[in-house]
Each structure stands twice: as structure tokens, then as C-alpha cells.
């Protein structure tokens, strides 16, 4: 997309600022939850930008940012094969077991 030279004001093909994923803990006692992403030059700026972008209305008490490039994700194409080992192990759920009548506190 850099075929047109003007008038975009782009600073001479500087590489784009890296992408960061943002996680916010809404309240004490809850886990950090993914809320979105943003661009920033470094971690410190990413944290400040995340505060301005994702917590303008007291949405959180703690923020994590991490470089998107550092995330290793499973592939949706392999979803079946990848998660298959879990599918046939229903005995991992407590509901698999029959509790005899009269047995309490189980």
C-alpha cells in the first residue's frame, strides 16, 4: 500500500509499532480477561495506552499487556484432532459417576 508517495504523511516507511494484547482484571478476585489489542512502541507505552483505551470507565484494577507475537495459538483447522483426547474421557467429569442413594457430602 506504499505505492502512493503523497500526501499520506507517513514517516518514510518506519516499521509499524508492535501489536500488544491487553488483559484487564475487572475486580479483585477475578481473573484477567482479554479485552483487545493496541499498537505501542514498548511495554511501558502499551500499558499507558491500554489504560487510556480500555479503562476510561473504571473497567479494571489491573492491566497486563503482552506482545501479540509472543502468543502461540492452536490452529482452528486442527481443532478436532487437537482436542480429541479430551472428548473420550468423560470420566473426568464428576457427573460421569453414579452416586448410590443415601451417600452424602459427595
Amino acid at each position: 500500500m506504499s505505492t502512493h508517495s503523497e500526501p499520506t504523511g507517513q514517516s518514510g516507511g518506519a516499521p509499524p509499532a508492535p501489536l500488544w494484547e491487553v488483559f484487564v482484571r475487572a475486580r479483585r478476585g477475578l481473573a484477567h480477561t482479554h479485552v483487545g489489542s493496541l499498537h505501542a512502541a514498548d511495554a511501558e507505552l502499551a500499558l499507558r495506552n491500554a489504560r487510556d483505551l480500555y479503562t476510561r470507565r473504571q473497567e479494571g484494577v489491573s492491566i497486563w499487556v503482552l506482545p501479540t507475537a509472543a502468543i502461540t495459538a492452536s490452529s482452528p483447522d486442527e481443532k478436532d484432532a487437537f482436542f480429541d483426547p479430551a472428548a473420550d474421557k468423560v470420566y473426568r467429569h464428576p457427573t460421569f459417576y453414579e452416586v448410590p442413594e443415601g451417600a452424602a457430602h459427595l
Binding site: 504523511g9 514517516s11 518506519a14 482452528p76 483447522d77 481443532k79
Partner: protein, 356 residues
């Protein structure tokens, strides 16, 4: 009042109620889940996901046209938020009180935030934000035509909140149910924040409309100028809309331009009455048979002209945007240089530690 695919609650909580209903629907769809994966026939799987009101996610297979349509729509939406800061930014230094000034600042900051959420949603489709910004600055992607109208008086801050944000909300609430997950989630967040925008605008107008005769007149003049451009925000009539049918099939879009426009008009009539201001349409009248208001259509010729670049402020908006981008270049460069320097120092410290 806003939607017809789920029950409306009372009018005061209507908007937020709908956004919450969309959020609940999103969670329920996720709960229903879907076993299996795209496998050998990704196109059939995609169709099934859409038919089951499930969300399409970034790494799923999707038709190229679906991807392109979403990129175009989300980018245009993001650009609108960014350009949309200008008409209101115009009045920040001249807000009539500290309270109004703080509110206006917060609103304009929200718009920057909305633009960024949306660019982030677009990036999940494989396009970079820099690319999209470039397309905007080069005039190759559009933003909403409404922002090419000037803000001539303080009352315009009220009218923009009431009518322009109101129209945007009517457009955007159904997008909370869009089939593309990241867009739907961004829209839920945006709509919750937009509700504040609309109410603060309504409050400004209500105050002016109940003020001195001059203030009242200023409010009425503002509504007169913004009414038809606001109606035009819903786009060309259904008969001329090029993108509608396919977008409806893909559940990107849920209602047609004309349906949403009608919904907006029906909503505004009562709100204008409470303000004690007139909507500038002598033909506006209740149609018992249709159960809706008859109204005069906006001038679609004018809409096309503004979209093509001949609106009152197109040139000014773009020039301002380009200048702001150019003048911010050193900030981006400085942040990158600082980050590189810090990384370098860390690297050197690490090596020293290893050597020691």
C-alpha cells in the same frame, strides 16, 4: 422501540437493554457451541456457522468477499470515529462551562477510543492499521458524510449528540449482533459508551431550548441544519443500496437502510416534543395504517455529492487529518527510538551479566 427481533423494554432503558440483549445472545450462542471443525468443506462449515447465529472468528475460513466487505465496513467506521473528532474538537476551547468542557473532552476521547477498537477489529482480518490509515489519508477510503458539515454554534454540540449519535446508535445497535465476532464485541463496547454521548447532547439541547429566546433560537437553527444530514446517515434508499442484500445474508447487516431510517424518525418525534423543538419537516405526520411516521426523505443527490468530496468541509477535514498525522510523526519516531534504545541497553546489561 429499537429492535424487532427481540422484545423492547421501556424507552429509557431501551438502548442499553438492547445492547445487553445482544451481549447475552452472544454468550448464549457461544454456550450452544459447535462440535467439529471446518474439515474438508470449509465453505459449508462457514454457512452453517452463519445459519446457526454463531460467530465467525479471525482464524476461521471465510469467503474472500466476506473478508473484504468487513474490512471496508469496519475501516470506514473507524475512519468516521477519527474524523468525527473534528467537528466537536472545534468547540472544546469555547465550551460555555468547565462542566461542559470536561464532558466534551471525554466524548472526543471516546471517539478516538472507538476508532482504535475498530482498527483493532479490522486488523484481525489480516490488514494493518497503517495500511488503513494510509488509505484514508490518500482519500481512497471513505468516512461518514455527516462529518463534512460544519459546527457553527454551541448548540451543534447538542444536536450532534442527539441526532448524529442517535442515528449512529440506531445503525450500530444491530451491529452488536454481527456475525463477525471481533466486530460484534467492539460494537457492544462502543454502543454502551455512545449512550452517554447521546444523553449529554440531549441535555445540552434541553437546556438551550428552555433558556433565553436567543438560546432557543440557536437550538432550533441547529436542529434545522442537522436533521436531513442525519437522515442521510442511513445511506441511500434500499432500492439504490449496492451492498445490502449480500451483507444481510452474511448477517453483517441486520436491517435495511430504510428500516433503520424509519426507526430513527419514529424515535425522534417524541424526543423533539419533549425538547419543545420542531423537526423541520412539514410533511412529518403519523400514519395510522403503517404504524409509523411519514416523513420527507433527505436529498440523496446531496448525499452523493458529499460522499464524492463536494461537501462543505471535506477538504478541511482531510487537510486537518493529514496535518495531524504528519505533525505526530516525530512522536512516533521518538517512541520507537526510545524503545530501541531501552531494548539495546537491556541486551548489553544481559551480556555483561553473562560475561561476569
Amino acid at each position: 422501540m429499537y429492535g424487532n427481533d427481540f422484545p423492547a423494554d421501556d424507552t429509557s432503558g431501551g438502548l442499553l437493554g438492547e445492547v445487553e440483549a445482544a451481549e447475552t445472545a452472544l454468550r448464549e450462542a457461544a454456550e450452544r457451541g459447535r462440535r467439529g471443525a471446518a474439515g474438508v468443506n470449509p465453505a459449508a462449515y462457514f454457512a452453517e456457522v452463519i445459519a446457526a447465529d454463531q460467530k465467525v472468528e479471525p482464524r476461521d475460513w471465510m469467503p474472500e468477499a466476506y473478508r473484504a466487505t468487513l474490512i471496508r465496513q469496519i475501516a470506514q467506521h473507524a475512519h468516521s470515529e477519527i474524523i468525527g473528532m473534528q467537528p466537536e474538537g472545534n468547540w472544546i476551547t469555547r465550551a460555555p462551562s468547565l462542566r461542559r468542557k470536561a464532558i466534551l473532552l471525554a466524548k472526543v476521547q471516546d471517539e478516538a477510543g472507538h476508532g482504535l477498537y475498530l482498527y483493532a477489529a479490522a486488523e484481525t482480518l489480516g490488514v494493518s492499521r497503517d495500511e488503513l490509515v494510509d488509505l484514508l489519508l490518500a482519500g481512497r477510503q471513505k468516512y461518514s458524510s455527516i462529518f463534512n458539515y460544519p459546527t457553527l454554534s454551541w448548540a451543534d454540540m447538542g444536536t450532534i449528540g442527539w441526532l448524529v449519535d442517535g442515528a449512529a446508535i440506531v445503525n450500530q445497535v444491530p451491529l452488536c449482533r454481527c456475525s463477525y465476532g471481533p466486530y460484534a464485541r467492539a460494537m457492544i463496547r462502543i454502543c454502551k459508551e455512545e449512550s452517554f454521548h447521546q444523553r449529554q447532547g440531549y441535555e445540552i439541547l434541553h437546556t438551550l431550548a428552555h433558556g433565553t429566546p436567543a438560546q432557543r433560537e440557536m437550538a432550533q437553527d441547529s436542529v434545522n441544519r442537522w436533521w436531513y444530514p442525519s437522515l442521510a446517515m442511513f445511506g441511500p434508499p434500499d432500492t439504490d443500496s449496492t451492498h445490502s442484500a449480500q451483507s444481510m445474508d452474511w448477517k453483517i447487516k441486520r436491517f435495511s437502510n430504510d428500516e433503520l431510517r424509519q426507526r430513527f424518525v419514529d424515535m425522534c418525534v417524541g424526543q423533539a416534543e419533549v425538547l419543545g423543538l420542531a423537526l423541520p419537516d412539514p410533511a412529518l405526520c403519523w400514519n395510522e395504517e403503517r404504524g409509523a411516521y411519514d416523513f420527507t426523505q433527505p436529498d440523496y443527490g446531496e448525499l452523493m455529492q458529499v460522499i464524492k468530496g463536494a461537501g462543505p468541509c471535506n477538504r478541511q477535514r482531510m487537510e486537518h487529518r493529514r496535518r495531524a498525522h504528519r505533525e505526530g510523526a516525530w512522536v512516533r519516531a521518538a517512541a520507537a527510538a526510545y524503545a530501541a534504545k531501552q531494548a539495546n541497553q537491556k541486551e548489553q546489561a544481559n551480556q555483561k551479566e553473562k560475561a561476569a
